[in-house]
Assembly symmetry: C2
Homo-oligomer: 350 residues x 2
């Protein structure tokens, strides 16, 4: 067919540095694109089979699984402390870890705007590989679609993940009990502020970098202190305040936290003041909130502080019977209701 | 925060018929959006837990799994014979089925352009539900992102899928053996032509509808005839010719098919002639190619023809030792090499 010949010469000679529609067409060009770009980075036996999906075996001890999905549309693609590739791996690893699951396998679905620089895509893929290695997960299956210029802003990535669950743990947003302690793993608001600063070209005295990180090793360390962790959640979109509201609602309890105990770095505080944001609503990508029985809290904290991603872990409050809301005891001694985020703070933050 | 108040009133009063940025923000608005739109349609215990992922148990007999992902960017969203929702379920179900896996669970990741009509989204979701019911799979976890107007063309959906594999089958693109018969499950080219007709506003004498369908019941019927099926693949992007080339390359064999035996409906033939397409390269979404041992081919065909999606199944050729290419014996008696699609035939066809 004439169409083929034209496509072929265009691909191999004229613009090999840009992503073309043909790279997502199921054609020879897209096969070569996948073979050159993705396979060397994500090399593993399951992926190399090149069937329309990965096949893997599970040991007989494993009965329960967690399955999760997230699309990443962050703008800009590169930001201080990470990029869309690292985020796409860490975000889904963290969703699995927050179920108490040990992440095993990820899928990667790329939707790319025609004309996107292949060299930038290569950097994103390298970053995904590095994050996957750090998190000890394998990217075993993928998909690439290319859409016409102007029909998508640069690059979106979906990752879905599968993890296995131990039989002896039961972590759920429904499990918070009155008297439990609420722990946050470190300082909040860094991801959101880092991204918005980069997007808007803002410069602060002290640089603010995203906390984007895989938290599965932190969760594993926590579970080595006690298997009796009630809730785990990563306060991403909507921030800490929204996550606490989710947990309170799902468990039908109240949560009382103390403003002075919430770790917020000075540069983030300053940026929030300048921009008019409340750090409690700003997205994090490398933090978790844990609800644990009071008696286990000290050991859990000790273990967390030994992990690089939990060094600043601290107890910020506790679960209360009434009112079934999230309450903030402010620095000046009053108490106010901390509601869930109701509008949109920062679009395309993850 | 002022931002919250503003967002809140905007959502509940002014434009409740459009998707807003806030619907993908992790805020109260997005929680309500998910609760109202997705939960009623995809209702199942795993989804209703509302943690950041689904948890499910697997019976002790199951050891092997298939895992696959696909993003759907089809334009237009509604086309004769289907829509992006049906396609997103069927496409991923089919990728699992082509591994010989029994599809179990799907994830659904929506990326939506700000301002998209909620009523249309509701139709897409209803269509996903219907397709999932037909395919007997459960949508157990999901994600919604909303991007600013103009940063995405309407709606993209990613679905990832998990299926289980029986121990007694081994289906792979690598397994074609010399002497095997090549079967196609029905007439080709319908999906691609249906979509392009709708997109370009073309009208033909006879209406052409997409073949978009879940093929897992067809595969199950085939496996009831014999467990010794060598290859299965659905000829989507790149069409039948590209799929045959993939199988020949992966198995390191040649494939000889006969033009007169390839089922193509008259309306598709006419449309291809008019548009200058070769139906062998046009996408299908409800067809499969099977490579089976010669001795098993008759029983497999019989079983296929009893299934609504295999009524017109037929043998179109066989696996040969040399040359290691796909050869087409033409209607007029010659033989030509049928190459893989090299350029881009139809962008955003799935």
């Amino acid at each position: 067919m004439g169409i083929e010949k034209k496509g072929s010469s265009k691909i191999s000679k004229i613009r090999a540095d840009k992503v073309l529609l043909a790279h997502g067409s199921g054609s020879k060009a897209s096969h070569e694109f996948v073979a050159n770009l993705f396979l060397p980075s994500f090399s593993n036996p399951a992926l190399e089979q090149l069937n329309d999906g990965a096949v893997f075996e599970i040991s007989p001890q494993i009965r329960s699984f967690a399955f999760t999905t997230d699309s990443y549309v962050i703008d800009p693609i590169f930001f201080p402390g990470g990029d869309i590739g690292r985020l796409a791996v860490c975000g889904t690893v963290n969703d699995l870890a927050m179920n108490g699951a040990t992440p095993l396998y990820l899928s990667a679905g790329f939707i790319i705007e025609e004309g996107f620089e292949i060299e930038i895509l290569r950097q994103v893929v390298a970053s995904m590989r590095q994050a996957a290695e750090e998190a000890e997960v394998k990217i075993v299956t993928g998909d690439t679609k290319v859409v016409n210029r102007g029909q998508l802003d640069k690059l979106f990535i979906n990752t879905s993940g599968i993890g296995f669950l131990r039989e002896d743990i039961d972590i759920s947003g429904r499990n918070a009990k009155v008297g439990d302690k609420v722990i946050v793993s470190g300082s909040i608001g860094e991801h959101g502020i880092a991204v918005i600063s980069k997007r808007e070209g803002l410069e602060f005295d002290a640089p603010i970098t995203s906390d984007c990180a895989p938290l599965n090793s932190l969760v594993a360390d926590m579970l080595s202190a006690t298997t009796d962790i009630h809730c785990l959640r990563d306060p991403t979109r909507g921030g800490l305040a929204t996550t606490l509201n989710e947990l309170a609602a799902q468990s039908n309890v109240g949560i009382l936290i103390e403003e002075t105990k919430i770790p917020i770095n000075e540069p983030v505080k300053g940026a929030c003041e300048l921009l008019g944001y409340d750090a409690l609503y700003v997205a994090n990508e490398g933090k978790l909130v844990a609800v644990v029985p009071e008696k286990d809290a000290p050991q859990v904290l000790t273990k967390m502080r030994e992990n690089r991603y939990g060094r600043d872990a601290t107890i910020i409050g506790e679960v209360i019977p009434e009112p079934k809301r999230v309450l903030l005891k402010t620095a000046i001694g009053g108490t106010r209701i901390l509601d869930m985020l109701t509008g949109e703070l920062l679009p395309r933050i993850c």
